[in-house]
Every structure is written in C-alpha cells, then in structure tokens.
C-alpha cells in the first residue's frame, strides 16, 4: 500500500528532522557538548522514516547503535533525545543511556543496543509478547549489514518464523560494518538471500527512496499484523559520514568516488524533489517544513544545553525496580 499524501508530507518533515538533528549533534559533538562518540544516520533517513511510518503508534521498534533517527522517525519529541546526548538529567534516559541507547517508550522505541546484533532477539520477544497478549502490535527491528553476520540474526529469524511472530526485520544495508566492506565479510551480496533459509519472504528496496521503503515495510507489517509471520526487508543505503563522529579511523576504507556517487542520491533532496514534482507540496511549503524541522532541532539544542546534569547520586538509581536489602552502601567520590 502506498502512503497517503498527508503521510508523505509528514515523512518529509521527519526526514528533515533527522537530518538537522544529526547535523546539530555532529556540531555539538565537535564543540564538546556531546560526550563520547556518535553514530549518525545521515544518508539513512529515507530508510528509517519510510520503515517507521509504516508502523502504528502502538507498534514496537528496536534499534541499534545508529539510532538517533529511529525514535525521531517514530514521532518522538526532540528535546529529551538531544538532552540525552548531552548527558543531561532531562534526557529521555536521564543521561544514563546516551547515543547508543536512545530508547523512547513514549513512541514505542523499546530499546536500542550498543551490542551489534543484540536487538534482533529483543524484537522477536516483542513480537512474541504481542501474539501472547493477543494485540495486533507489530515489532520492527532495525539492524545493519554487519549485524547480519552475528549468530543472533540467525537465531532470531528462525525463532520468529517457527511461531509466525509479527516481526519485521529491516536491514539498513549501508555496505559497511565500521570499516569492513560487506563484500569482504558477508558471503552473499544481498542479505535478503538469507530469508529463504527461514522460510521467510524478503524484499530488496532502494533505501534512498522513502516511498519504496514505506511500501515494502507496509506490506510486511500488514502480513505480520494478520498473523502470517515475519518478513525481511533489505534497504540498500549508505552512510554519508564517518562510522562514528569522535572516533578516529586512521585510513580511508571507502572510495571517495563511491561516497560521492551515493551523495548524489541524498534522501532529503530526493524526497523533497519528488513531493514537489508530484505536486504534493509546493517549493515554499517544503521550505516551511524544513524550517519547522530546523526550529525544532534548535529548540532541542537549547533545551539540552540549558538542562542540568544529573545529580551524581542518580548513578545509583534505576539498577533495580524492587531493591532488596544491603547492596548499595558504597557511593562514588565527589
């Protein structure tokens, strides 16, 4: 099923939001406001938004280390996300999770994992939960080409398939896992070729085309929702920047020509132009959308910047929901 025009406009807005959010994060990281290193989604926006908008509000999303975009695409408020990246108390995870763990339960983003591949079993579990509880929720898992080499990929696809769980596996295949080219470390060119080994339908789509991603994922979601089981959607995409900002990689590992070629297909421009050309919105409406997104991102940065750091004692809360006697006497030093 195709997205409605209204939804497509919202998709463009969210694509803008992710792009500007990530650009702001990059800048703030360089300014020393965002501690640690950050894995940006720039280049992946069409995949992320196309897939997420094919879900309903109550559906579940599980992300990975490159997941700033996932909650945004699912409709999250930006300020708590940005504040999290700043390590502030107002962060969506109170400053405890950070860049690689931007869970936002408000919009169904259940968890994100800094451990490559670890999200896939979690997504299967969310699917199991929907099935057992008798809801029609669907669980969507984002993972990279690199993650598809982990044993957890195999175990998860098999588990989801044997019980026909409502899970959609979305591979953001950007052709590299850190510096390792997929063609050198993955025995097949298309991850989708592995779906047959789990008796699972799969589809390969242009990950720079938000509509194409939406349609493929929507089809998988419909299938999952009616109890027909999981699917694998492979989105061919590309990361425009470094593996992580704040992490030095001493030598180039991608052809600059390859990078340039992909940048020609910038998902922001592609989708903006398509909607304008298709008469969905005018150029100035598109500019308004972009401006709106930019404002929201700016506000998020201000919010993050103006928020307080958490009280050091917060380091010792949230370990257990139901604490038992005796464990937490020791505190850190000031």
């Amino acid at each position: 099923m195709k997205a409605s025009q209204q939804r497509r406009v919202e998709m463009l807005l969210r694509i803008f939001k992710i792009r500007y959010f990530e650009e702001a994060v990059k800048k703030q990281q360089q300014l020393g406001q965002v501690p640690g290193s950050v894995h940006l989604s720039i280049g992946h926006e069409a995949t992320i938004v196309g897939a997420s908008m094919a879900l309903g509000k109550d559906d579940f999303v599980i992300g990975n280390h490159r997941s700033h975009g996932h909650p945004i695409a699912k409709g999250a408020n930006l300020p708590p996300l940005m504040a999290e990246l700043f390590g502030k108390a107002t962060g969506v995870c109170k400053g405890k999770g950070g860049s690689m763990h931007l869970a936002d339960r408000e919009v169904g983003v259940v968890g994100e994992s800094g451990i490559v591949g670890a999200g896939l079993p979690l997504a299967v579990g969310a699917g199991l939960s929907a099935k057992v509880r008798g809801t029609d929720q669907v669980s969507l898992c984002f993972f990279g080409d690199g993650a598809s080499s982990e044993g957890s990929f195999h175990e998860s696809l098999n588990l989801a398939s044997i019980w026909d769980l409502p899970v959609v596996f979305v591979c953001e295949n950007n052709m590299y896992g850190a510096t390792s080219p997929a063609r050198e470390v993955i025995a097949v060119e298309d991850i989708a070729d592995r779906a047959a080994g789990y008796d699972m339908p799969s589809e390969i789509v242009d990950g720079q085309d938000a509509d194409a991603v939406y349609e493929a994922v929507n089809c998988a979601v419909v299938r999952a929702r009616k109890g027909s089981g999981p699917s694998l959607v492979e989105c061919k995409t590309y990361r425009f920047g470094e593996h992580a900002e704040g992490l030095i990689i001493p030598v180039p590992y991608r052809d600059s020509e390859e990078v340039e070629r992909w940048k020609q297909r910038d998902p922001v421009d592609l989708y903006r132009d398509r909607l304008i050309r298709g008469g969905v919105l005018s150029e100035s409406q598109a500019d308004d959308l972009a401006e709106q997104a930019g404002k929201l991102v700016d506000e998020a940065v201000f919010f993050a910047r103006d928020s307080e750091f958490p009280d050091p004692a917060e380091a010792f809360t949230d370990i257990f929901k139901m604490p038992s006697a005796g464990q937490f006497e020791e505190r850190g030093h000031e």
Partner: protein
C-alpha cells in the same frame, strides 16, 4: 504442609504462578515435555514455547517479551549453557532498566540447573553462579530445599527485575515440607538453617546437607555451629551473615563452585572488611578446587566439598 520433592516444588511454583498471572510464559528447549508428561497442566500449553537450540536467541527473546508486557521464565536447562547467553543476560536483561533511565522493566526469570558429580564432564558440570554475582541489575538465587525453591521461584516470577535461579540437579529428589497455601521466600533474605554460637557456617546450594551433618558431628564434640544459607547471592543478605560472625568470631563458607572467584571469596572479603575485629581466626573457604570437571568418577568424586572437608575447616577455626 505437605512433603514434596525439590523437583515437584519447582513445577508447583510454575503451575501456580502461571495460573495466578496470565502474563507468565515459559521458554526453553524441550519444554513441551512439561505438559506432555503432565508436569504442568495442559491447559497452560499455549504459554509454553519449546524452542530451537539457540540460547542467546531465546534468552534475548525473553528479554524483549519482558520489556513489552510478559513475564517470561526462561529455562537454560543445564547451567553450563549460560555462557552462550551471557550477552543477553548481562548486557540486555540486567542493564536495560538502567540504560533506559527506568523506562523499561525486565521481569524475567532465568533458570539453570547445575549438574555435577554425575560424570557429565567439562561441558555439563559447571556451578557458574559466581559469574553473575558481580552483575548489577541481576538478582541471583541458589535455592537448596523444596520450600526455598518453590518460594524463591514464586518471588522471582513476581519480581519486576531479572532474576537468575540456579537450581541443583542433585537435589531433584530431595524431599521437604512445603505449605499448602501460597507463600514466597523473599529475595535477598538469608535463612538460618541451624542456630549456633561458636562458629558461623555459610553454606550454598547443595552443600547444605553435608554442612548440617558436619554441624551435628561438631555438636557432639561440643562445638555449636550456626548454619546459614544465604539463598540469595545477589543482593546478599550481609546483615544476617555479619551478625552471626560478630557473635561467633569464626566463619567457614562452603561453596560448591570453584575456589577462585567463588561466592565464598566475596563473602570472605566482605566479612573481613566489615567485622575484622570480631574474627578470631582466618575465614575458611571450603570449595571445589580450581579444576575443570573431569569425567571419570575416580577423578570427579573427590572434588566437591564434603562433610569431612567441612569438619576439617571448622576445626581449623580453633
């Protein structure tokens, strides 16, 4: 009260809790046997997921289900298989609440049965609970009686945090009194299995019978031994242990795990730190030595702490 086996107690807990709470599901290898063998009522079948052999995958599936409204009980069967699922247990189950700033709860129970002293050799004989005692966010229990295993499993299933339960295969057929009515054994509370005044003997899991027997023998020699089963190893009920040692001044810890990095080591360190001045003699650790478990009974049988080892350790305290 009725007299039931440790094994029965395990499954009474399952059955009763599954009836009490619809969100409990069971996950594990070959567990369709539970209903087929009449161990669990077949009316509960739809909540029993007999899995492929994929420990990391199905543990992670349990975590995902726990995050989204279910209360899974995941059976790892033999404790030596925990190594395969460490990532999901340590990095995901135990950390998810914290890393999400409290947004996500992981009410999950992992079960692992320790098989040892039965010629199962190096890949099936581990007692790996110490590995999990240093994992914040995870509760670790090691029940030693039918009463405790039923009550602790029930508590674990009602807990909103992840709990890993190390059962003991060698206790399956041990009988014990269990109340007819619903009860739980609270997590984090030790049990004084025998009162005493001269020596504190902390005993973990299956070493309890030999510990109590050793206490009897020592009583005949005029030494009064207090036997404490921590039951929960994390969070540890240090109050009970420290209180006892403060009175007796003498401590031996019996732990079927390997000596290095054992629960005994941790308890020894805590006690030395907290009630050093009460200690009359060095804390004794009675453990399995640092070996891989061999197959041959001629090699294996000697390894685990037994009554005479415990008595010898107590004597060293005077």
């Amino acid at each position: 009260m009725s007299e039931i086996s440790y094994f029965e107690a395990i499954f009474q807990a399952h059955q009763e809790e599954m009836i009490r709470d619809e969100s409990i599901v069971l996950i594990g290898e070959d567990i369709s046997l539970y209903t087929r063998a009449g161990i669990i009522d077949s009316a509960l079948e739809a909540r029993i997921f007999s899995t492929p052999i994929a420990e990391n995958g199905f543990c992670g599936m349990g975590v995902g289900a726990a995050l989204t409204g279910l209360r899974p009980v995941v059976d790892l069967t033999i404790a030596s298989f925990v190594y395969l699922a460490m990532d999901q247990i340590v990095n995901q189950a135990a950390r998810m609440r914290y890393m999400t700033g409290g947004q996500g709860s992981v009410p999950i129970v992992f079960r692992a049965s320790m098989w040892h002293n039965a010629s199962n050799a190096g890949h099936h004989s581990d007692r790996p609970y110490p590995l999990f005692m240093g994992v914040p966010g995870l509760k670790v229990v090691v029940p030693s009686t039918p009463y405790d295993v039923k009550g602790l499993l029930k508590a674990a299933m009602r807990d909103d945090d992840p709990v890993i339960v190390f059962e003991d295969n060698s206790l399956w057929f041990k009988m014990g009194e269990v109340p007819e009515d619903d009860y739980v054994v609270p997590i984090g509370v030790a049990d004084i299995k025998r009162q005493g005044s001269d020596v504190t003997l902390v005993t973990i899991g299956s070493t309890q019978a030999d510990s109590l027997a050793a206490a009897e023998t020592m009583a005949a020699e005029g030494v009064s031994v207090e036997v404490i089963d921590p039951r929960t190893l994390s969070p540890l009920d240090t109050d009970t242990i420290l209180g006892s040692v403060a009175r007796t001044g003498r401590l031996a810890i019996v732990d079927p795990a390997n000596r290095s990095m054992s629960a005994a080591s941790e308890i020894s360190a805590i006690v030395s730190e907290q009630v050093f001045d009460s200690l009359k003699k060095p804390v004794q650790r009675v453990t399995t030595p640092d070996v891989i478990i061999p197959f041959s009974p001629a090699l294996e049988k000697q390894l685990y702490p037994c009554q005479s080892d415990i008595e010898a350790a107590i004597k060293k305290l005077f």
